[in-house]
């Protein structure tokens, strides 16, 4: 279990490719012979992950995009799940 903190800098793991699928109207993660469909909020988080921005920066950007939404808990929950499933790696050691 990876402890995700405000300083964690996630990047998408090399096995995965993240992209928008027009036909399915959602973001997906593609990997050898498989695909994960992401929910709208998961897609919003993932598309901001660039291997440079720390979680604090992702949260800041998300708050600006969705003002008034309490999203911090959901973001941490999603990131922890994403680490657990191997979708994310840390770009910089904490």
């Amino acid at each position: 279990m990876t402890a995700v903190t405000a300083d964690t800098v996630p990047r998408i793991a090399p096995l995965f490719r993240f992209q928008w699928e027009e036909a399915q109207r959602c973001h997906v993660l593609l990997y050898p012979e498989g695909m994960v469909r992401l929910s709208g909020s998961a897609g919003e988080i993932m598309k901001r992950i660039d291997g440079k921005t720390a979680v604090s920066g992702l949260l800041e950007d998300l708050r600006a995009a969705f003002p008034g939404v309490a999203l911090e808990r959901d973001v941490y929950d999603f990131l922890e799940t994403a680490y657990e499933r191997g979708w994310l790696r840390s770009a910089v050691a904490q």
Partner: protein, 383 residues
């Protein structure tokens, strides 16, 4: 046989799934001769391969319909000299492209060219973990080359899947096989028990493992799954003849999976060609939109209106879709019957008896008999 299977209602396009998985079987030509090959027995009949432009058109049309995963397969896809061109087009279109290969016909320059073109992943098949058995089963001295190519694939930083088809003649080596894949740095390993279609059905008596072999192999596979957690994923597919519920074959007929055969025939699964009473539409004559959404071949077993008892009233019918149509046909003579792997099928007891009869034969007797290898000479004889 069923009369015509015309019970399937017409589906509106909205209710149809999308062909998310496109399998492009670029050629039936192959330097290997594996006796469990998934190609049709009569593959030698289909010589007229789609050309580069036709394949590019297939890729474009399928992508528009929603295809996201693309498998380049065969036969051996490396025999196509235009593979690099097709990979580049696939990347441009946004596919995740998988090369499913024996690695025979590959060298480092080609791996580099695939990378440049944007290939996402390479899957290499092994026949065994020891050189003699690998080369015997493949009918080709390929083992050392495979090892070398697996190393090159990792050197170019690809995700690497290693696939080993498991059967009576190599199942006792399963621990060596897993160790070999760990040494080679595989990301995923598929230990795929032989499924009995086409060539493997022909050789079933020499391939079906015994219950005892299977129990041991499963225990070892699960041990390594635990041990390698987080580093390497091990997928272990049991032979469905030993199950009591059928596999959800292809996730349902015409639900997510579209195969285009080397000659342009469109199939709901790569084994479907053996089903009688079908005229599989060809991309030379029809659009993929029509093939997927309208053609009789793709709509025939879509949904559940075609089902008979025990499937029709079964609470699990949307979970396994009645299993595999090809298997139902092969084992009962009627593709609309329940897959006899299911213990609700009236044919199940017959299958169990057949499995017992086959596996009661001592291994020495099995080894003494010749496998029918997949090659053009045998294919012509079987056509």
């Amino acid at each position: 046989m069923s009369a015509d299977g015309s019970a399937a209602p017409s589906h509106s396009k909205k209710l149809n799934g999308k062909p998310l998985w496109l399998l492009a079987e670029l050629s039936y030509r192959c330097p290997l001769q594996c006796p469990y090959c998934a190609n049709p027995l009569e593959y030698a009949r289909y010589k007229d391969e789609l050309d580069t432009e036709q394949w590019i058109d297939v890729l474009r049309q399928a992508r528009k319909l929603g295809a996201a995963q693309l498998g380049f397969s065969g036969g051996e896809p490396l025999v196509r000299q235009d593979l690099e061109v097709l990979i580049a087009e696939a990347r441009r279109l946004g596919y995740y492209s998988n090369l499913i290969t024996s690695s025979v016909g590959m060298d480092e320059a080609r791996v580099a060219a695939f990378k440049e073109a944007g290939l996402d992943h390479i899957q290499i098949s092994f026949q065994a973990s020891d050189e003699a058995l690998n080369n015997y089963l493949g009918g080709t001295d390929s083992f050392r080359h495979k090892l070398e190519m697996a190393r090159v694939v990792k050197k170019y930083d690809y995700p690497m899947v290693l696939n080993v088809v498991i059967h009576r003649q190599n199942i006792d080596q399963i621990e060596d096989i897993i160790r070999m894949t760990i040494d080679l740095g595989a990301d995923y390993v598929e230990l795929a028990s032989t499924q009995y279609y086409g060539w493997s059905k022909l050789n079933a008596e020499l391939l079906l493992p015994t219950r005892e072999q299977l129990a041991r192999a499963e225990r070892i596979a699960h041990e390594y799954q635990e041990r390698m957690k987080g580093r390497m994923r091990i997928l272990y597919v049991v032979p469905d003849y030993y199950e009591t519920r059928p596999k959800a074959c292809m996730n349902g007929w015409g639900a997510v999976f579209l195969t285009i055969a080397p000659d342009g025939a469109a199939l709901p699964c790569h084994a479907a060609r053996q089903l009688p009473g079908f005229e599989f539409p060809n991309v030379r004559e029809h659009t993929i939109d029509w093939i997927w959404n309208e053609s009789p071949a793709f709509t025939r077993y879509r949904g559940d209106a075609w089902m008979k008892e025990p499937c029709r009233s079964c609470p699990e019918r949307h979970k396994d879709f009645g299993g595999c149509r090809c298997q139902a046909f092969m084992l009962t003579g009627d593709a609309t019957n329940a897959d006899p792997v299911c213990d609700k099928s009236p044919f199940h007891a017959q299958l169990v008896a057949e499995v017992d009869r086959i596996t009661a034969q001592p291994i020495e007797a099995v080894r003494a008999r010749p496998l029918v290898f997949r090659n053009t000479k045998n294919s012509r004889a079987l056509s």
